[in-house]
């Protein structure tokens, strides 16, 4: 069924080999709220040169600590925040190219589910109105048709329309609200869904139900997911590929199994070691990462992780590591992993064989 849909989707342009989303050098520096008439504003380097690609029908997980730029990246993709630099290519059409895809079209094909299920629903609109808003205003559907669309979507996300269409957000539970959020995101028939911590605020049993719903919808509607989360277990469960972000940059990218099985970057390794162990015989006893990430206003020179890295050497402060392949579809931005760099461990680290 999914194969048939993929072939039938009239919006597909480049075929399955062309990435649905290609992001190149995405950058956003926010000016801090300086004093009135301050001569120079300091810049928060929220997202600093992020590049990745997302293949059709797959799920890309984005992990990292709070404040590493995951949510900013999501908002940049939808142009909810204007990027300072970088390009977004959607199924071969570039946003920066005047002949390419417009921001409006991009938003029609790419939708987002927010973390805070309450704040992301208009408290003064019924569930039906919330879902029908997009079709009614962006696609100019008649009120009646938009309402029918909303009801069929409610059905699709597992909420009985007769029971829920007329309710207000405050009359729903957290899981129900997140289902409404998903229905709203699906209302414009997007091809790509950005899930920004979409299940993080839910308790575990509800989280599992929503994850199952998302998996079903992905199959039925042939969706592609960008799954942003700080929960490594969930990311591992849902993702085909994973990128690890630290302080506005990608430090490691690769297939989920490679990242979780053979992490290359010291930060990824620390993150994985910090995961609570399910086996009482192997407790996580020492915290592998101490302190908070450095201030993104004045990030460390060279490798941004060096201030918390046990293996930091002089070269880490001097040169910025770039993403280099250490295996088949497995890239790491760390001097240690590059044979011949002046890092002391560079030649002793065994090459990872994927």
């Amino acid at each position: 069924m999914s194969e048939a849909r993929r072939l039938l989707d009239p919006r597909d342009r480049g075929g399955p080999a062309q990435p649905l989303l290609l992001v190149r050098g995405l950058k956003k520096h926010f000016p801090t709220k300086g004093r009135f008439l301050a001569r120079r504003h300091e810049m928060v380097q929220a997202v600093d040169g992020v590049s990745f690609s997302l293949m059709k029908g797959t799920t890309l997980g984005v992990v990292g600590e709070s404040g590493c730029g995951k949510s900013t990246t999501a908002r940049l993709l939808l142009h909810l925040i204007e990027p300072d630099a970088g390009d977004i290519v959607f199924d071969g059409d570039s946003v920066s190219d005047p002949q390419g895809i417009s921001v409006r079209e991009l938003r029609l094909q790419m939708q987002m589910v927010f973390q805070d299920s309450y704040s992301s629903l208009n408290p003064r609109a019924t569930v039906s109105d919330i879902i029908a808003f997009g079709p009614k205003t962006a696609k100019k559907l008649a009120a009646q048709a938009a309402r029918e669309r909303a009801e069929s979507l409610l059905d699709q996300v597992g909420l009985r329309p007769a029971l829920f269409a007329r309710r207000y957000p405050h009359e729903l539970s957290g899981g129900q609200r997140q289902r409404v959020n998903i229905a709203r995101a699906l209302a414009l028939e997007p091809r790509l869904l950005i899930l920004d911590e979409a299940v993080s605020a839910l308790d575990k049993s509800v989280e599992a139900q929503i994850l199952n719903l998302l998996a079903d919808l992905r199959r039925e509607l042939n969706l592609t997911y960008l799954f942003i989360s700080h929960d490594l277990n969930v990311v591992r469960h849902v993702s085909d590929r994973v990128v690890v972000m630290y302080l506005g940059r990608i430090v490691e990218a690769g297939e989920a199994e490679a990242i979780f099985g053979r992490p290359g970057h010291p930060y990824t390794r620390a993150l994985l070691r910090a995961m609570p162990s399910m086996d009482p015989d192997y407790r996580t006893e020492v915290s592998p990462l101490t302190g908070d990430p450095p201030n993104p206003i004045n990030p460390p020179s060279g490798c941004r992780f060096r201030t918390r890295c046990a293996f930091a050497e002089a070269v880490c402060a001097q040169a910025t590591p770039i993403l280099e392949a250490i295996g088949n579809d497995h890239d790491v931005a760390c001097h240690m992993m590059v044979p011949g760099s002046s890092h002391g461990r560079a030649d002793t680290v065994a090459p990872v064989n994927d």
Binding site: L78, S119, A125, T126, Y168
Partner: protein, 301 residues
């Protein structure tokens, strides 16, 4: 299998739900209809407004025609149920006619200020940082003066009269309405659901109409209704100072001023215009409270 997540919080699976779609405003109307106090207050207000509109029929005497023989009659005098004033004019007739000017002076400035201030506040709240700064700093200038003083100053410059009273009160009320609307709009704008609406490729007018306005209008309306009573009192104050309506026209503030000398002779009659102001402003305040609770649909109602 029963999907637990799909159950409503109350587990009321068979809760009756009509198929008729409901919107926010129809929900608010339903809630208002069930609020007996607010309905009662609204009826009293309608009665006051009707008396003012139909003053020629409701009045028993000519409000301007006095008689030296009938000066300062007490409440309950046959023919003058609410007594007479210092020149022998019928209080009831003057109150009824005075309601015309007092209500116009109470409601019109608030209506105009809500239109002007609400628009400016929305523009400031939704617009860029520069637009916001421009509007709000200009508004701050008006905040530098106490409202009574500002009204007196404006009226003093442009002269007495009902039109000028309305204009000066409009200017006085615009500043706080801009501020209230701006702060509401700024709060709403930063909520995720507005961001979600932007992400759904909806045009800006639709976002303002369906997402921002329903969340701003409530607070704005409630604030504006509470200003009506202040406006009635302020315009009465201006008349009292001789800056509003000019005698011998009947107006509640002016009547209060004229009758103040009679307070030791006939205190009940002297207090009557004040009672009229009190009842009307109390009604507007209660109406504003009722509106507030009807619009906050999260409250049980």
């Amino acid at each position: 299998m029963v999907d637990i997540a799909a159950l409503p919080p109350s587990l009321a699976l068979d809760e009756p739900q009509s198929a008729e779609p409901r919107s926010y405003w129809s929900t608010v109307a339903d809630r208002l209809k069930r609020d007996r106090l607010t309905i009662g207050v609204a009826i009293v207000l309608l009665l006051i407004v009707a008396l003012a509109i139909f003053a020629p029929w409701a009045a028993t005497h000519d409000p301007l025609q006095g008689s030296v023989l009938r000066r300062l009659k007490p409440v309950g005098t046959p023919g003058h149920l609410l007594g007479t004033d210092e020149t022998g004019r019928d209080i009831w007739s003057r109150l009824v006619y005075g309601g015309r000017l007092s209500l116009v002076c109470g409601i019109t400035p608030v209506l105009l200020a809500t239109l002007v201030g609400g628009t400016l506040g929305l523009v400031a709240g939704i617009g860029s940082r520069f637009v916001n700064m421009l509007v709000m700093r200009v508004v701050d200038v008006f905040y530098a003066f106490p409202s009574v003083l500002l009204a007196i100053a404006i009226c003093g410059v442009i002269g007495a009269g009902i039109g000028n009273t309305i204009l000066s009160l409009t200017i006085v009320f615009t500043a706080p309405i801009v501020r209230v609307t701006e702060s509401l709009a700024t709060q709403v704008k930063s909520r995720d659901f507005v961001e979600a609406a932007r992400a759904s490729a909806a045009p800006l007018p639709a976002i303002i109409r369906y997402q921002i306005l329903p969340n701003v209008l409530g607070g704005m309306l409630v604030y504006a209704t509470s200003l009506v009573s202040i406006s009635i009192i302020l315009s009465a104050g201006l008349s009292f100072l001789g800056l509003g309506v000019t005698p011998p026209n009947p107006e509640w503030g002016l009547m209060l001023n004229a009758l103040r000398q009679a307070i030791f002779v006939n205190p009940l009659v002297a207090a009557l215009p004040g009672v009229a102001i009190l009842i009307t402003s109390l009604c507007f305040n209660l109406l504003s409270d009722g509106l507030r609770s009807a619009m906050d649909i999260r409250l049980p109602g």
